[in-house]
Amino acid sequence: MRSTFHGLETGKRSLFAQQTALQTTGHNIANANTVGYSRQVVNLISSRPIEAVGMMRTNVPGQLGTGVEFDSITRIRETFLDDQYRNGSQIHGAWEVRLDVLEKLETIFNEPSDVGLRSLLDKFWASWHDLSENPEDITARKLVRETARALVDAFNQTHRQLEDLQADLTENIQVKVAQMNTTLQTIAELTRQIRRIEALGDNANDLRDQRDVLVDQLSKLVNITVTEANGIYQVSMGGVVLVNNDTANLQTVDGIVGNFGGALTGGEIYGTILARDQYVTEYINQLNTLVNGLVNGEVTITIPRGSVLPEGTVLNGITYTGSVAARTLADDLTVTVRGLNGLHQLGYTLLDPPTAGGPFFVSADGGPITAGNIRLNPDIEKDASYIASSMRVIENGGTVTVVKGNKDLALLISQFNDLKINFSSVSTGAITGYGSVNDFFRSIVGQLGIQAQEAERQTENAKLVIDQVDARRQAVSGVSLDEEMANMVKFQHAYNAAARFITTIDQILDKIINSMGIVGR
C-alpha cells in the first residue's frame, strides 16, 4: 500500500536530481576552457521501486516507481588516450630540444654567409696570395697578420659560443630537474587528497583532472608510465618509481644524468643531456680537429729545387745543416710536414740575419691546439716581419742574407687550401678524415644540416601525433557548449515538469483534505 504522500517524495527526488544535473551542466560550462578539464556527468538512475519481495507485500499489481536518484558524478576520460598522449609527448619533448640546440649550432656556424669561418679561411689564403705578390715588404705581411687575427678570433669565438651553449644546457638540465621535482611533489600531494576523498566513496573528478595535467607536463620532461591498480597509484620513469601514492621520490641532477640511456629514454631532460653530450661535444671536437689539422696535420708538399732549408731542418730523415750550399735542394723534394706550422718553419722571415719562421699559430695554454686556445704566434703579433715567405738565402762573402724576392713559401701556403690534410694524425677522438680544410668544414656543416633536418622532421611528426591524440582526448573529454546547452534545456524542462507534478499532487491533497466528505455541509 503506498503512502498518500508518495507523489510528493517522488517529485522532490526529481527536483533534487535535475537540479544536481543542472549544477553539473553549469560546472561543465564554467570549465569549458579549463586546461585538462574532463566533462562530468551525473549518473541518474531510477530509485528502488516499492513493493519489494516479501511476505508483507500487497496484492496490488505491478511495481510502483519511486522516482529518480543519482548514484555518482563521474568524469568522462579514456586512460588509454592519456597513455598515448604521454608517450607522444616525451618523444616530442626530446626532439624539440634537440632541434632547438641544432638550430643554435646552425646559428653559431653561420653558414651560408660572407662572414663565417669559411669566408675568413678564404680571406686568409687570399692574403698569402697578396704576400706572394709583394714578398719584400711589410705591408703585405701586415695584411696576412690581420686576416690571421680575424681567423683566430673567429675560431676562439665559435669555440666560446659552443662552450657557452654547453654551459647553458647544463643549467637547463638543472632547471628542468627542479621543475620535475616540484611537479612530482604536487602530484604526490594531489594523490593524497584524492585517496582521502575516494576512501569515502566519492569521485575526486576535479583533483584527478588537475593531477592528469601535471602528469602530462611531467611526460614532456621525462619518459613516464602511470599505473593505477588495486588502489596504488604509481608514476615511474623506466624502472625508477617517481611517485608512489602520496610519496614523491625526488631526483638529483646527477641521478638523472646517471640514468641517461638507461631508465631515462625520452622527454626534454633526455633531449637536453643528449644535445649537450653528443651534439655540442661532437661539434667542439670536430672544430678542434679542424683547427689542429690546419695547424699541425700531416700534409704532403713539394719544395721547389733551389730552396735552402733552414739550419737543422729534418726532412725525410735527413738533417740539413752546414753551409748554404749543403742545405740547398738540388731537386724538387716531396715531403710530409706537420700542417701550416710545419710549413711555415721551412721558410725565412724578413729578419736579418736569416731567421727561420717559427710556428705560425701557437696554443695559449701550451696544450694541444684547439679552436679555443689557438693564438697567433706572439712574435708575429708584435712584428709582422716574423712571417716567413722566402725559401732561399744566399751567401756572399761569408754573409748569409735572405733572398726577400723569393716567394716560394708564400706560394706554397697560398695553395694550402687545396692540400689534403691527414686529420687522423691530430684527431684525439674517433674523428678521422683525409681532405682539405674546406672539405672538412663542409662536412661539418653538411652533417649539422642533416641532423637539424632530421630533428625538424621528427619534431613535426611527434607534434602531429600528440595533436591528434589531444584532439581525440578533446573529443572524448572536452566540453561541448552545444551539448551542455541542450542538456540545460533538458534538465530545466525536467525540473519544471517535476515542479508541476508537485503542484498537481498538492492539488490532489487539497482536494482530499479540504473538499472531501463535505456533502450537504
Binding site: 569549458a32 576552457n33 641544432l102 638550430e103 646552425e106 646559428t107 656556424f109 653558414e111 651560408p112 669559411r118 669566408s119 679561411l121 678564404d122 680571406k123 689564403w125 687570399a126 696570395h129 706572394s132 705578390e133 709583394n134 719584400e136 715588404d137 733551389g306 732561399r392 733572398v403 726577400k404 724576392g405 723569393n406 716567394k407 716560394d408 706560394l411 697560398s414 695553395q415 687550401n417 687545396d418 674546406n438 663542409r442 656543416v445 653538411g446 652533417q447 649539422l448 644540416g449 642533416i450 637539424a452 633536418q453 595533436d467 589531444d470 584532439a471 581525440r472 578533446q474 573529443a475 572536452g478 566540453v479 561541448s480 557548449l481 552545444d482 551539448e483 546547452m485 541542450a486 534545456v489
Partner: protein
Amino acid sequence: MLGRVTQGTMTAQLLGNINKNLKQAAELQEKMGTGRKINRPSDDPVGITYSLRYRSELSINNRFQTNVNSALSWLDFYDTILSQAVDVLKRVKELAVQGANGTNPQVALDNIAGEVEQMKDQLVDVANSMFQGKYVFSGQMTEQMPYPPGTDPKTVLTDQGSLDYIINTGIRLSVNLIGNNVFGYPPASTGVVVNPPNTNEEDNVFYVLDQIINSLRSGDHEGVAAQIPLLESRIDKILTQRAEVGARVNRIELMEQRLKDLNLNLVTLQSKTEDADLEELIIQSKVNESVYQASLAVGAKIIMPTLVDFLK
C-alpha cells in the same frame, strides 16, 4: 573521424591551422627577403655543401684573376722595356755601320763613340728598370740593383730566380726575365765563371758596346765592323725574349678566359643551388595569403555561434 566535436577541438584545430599558415608565410617571407632558398644548413644539407664549395671556389677564382692581371701587367712592362732596348740597339747598329765606314775622320768617330756611350748608359738604365718598386732583371733579388753604378755591367751575373704567379690551381707561371738572358752573360775575357747550363757569351751587349766604343776611339774601322754581327745576334736574342713574353701573355690570356668562363659557371651553379625562384615564391606567397585570410574569415564565423546564440 572524431565522434564528438567540441568548441575546444575546433578552436585548437583552427589555431593549429592558422599557425601552420603563418609559419608557411614566414618561411616564404624569409626566402623572398633573402632571395635565397638555403638560409641555414638544414634547408638543404646536400645543397649547402655545394654552396660552400662554390663560394670558396669563387673566392679563389677571383684571386686567380687578380694574379692573372698582375702577371699581365708585369709582362706588359717587359714588353715595353724590351722594345726600348731594341730601339736603342738599332740606333747603335746604325752608328756602328756609320763608324765602320773608313772615310770618317777621327772627330766624327769620337762623336759617334760619345753617342754610343750615351746609348750604353741608357741600356744600363733599362737593365735597372723597376716595376712596382722591384728591379725586374734582378731575379728574386728584387731589392738589389742588377747593374749597380761602379760595377762594370759586362761582368754582372744576375740572379736566376724566377718570380712566379699562381694563375690557376697548381699552375705556376714565371713572369720575369733573367737579366743575363736579355743582355748576355759575361764574356770569357772578363774571367767571370758562368755555371752551366749557361755559358760565357761574347755578344754580351755591354761588352759589344764597349768594344765598339774602344774601336771607334782608336779609329779601328774593322774592329767596329767586326762587332756588328755580334750586335745583330744580341738583337735577335732580345727579340727572342720578347717573343717569349708574347707567348706567356698568350698563355695567360687563355687562362684568363678560362677563369672568366669558370667564374660564370660557378656563379650560375651557385645561383641554381642557393637562389630562390622568385616567381614561384610570389605565387606561393599569394596562395598562402588567401588561404590564411580564408582561415581567419572561416574562424570568425565558426567560433562565434553556439546554441547559446539561438536560445532565447
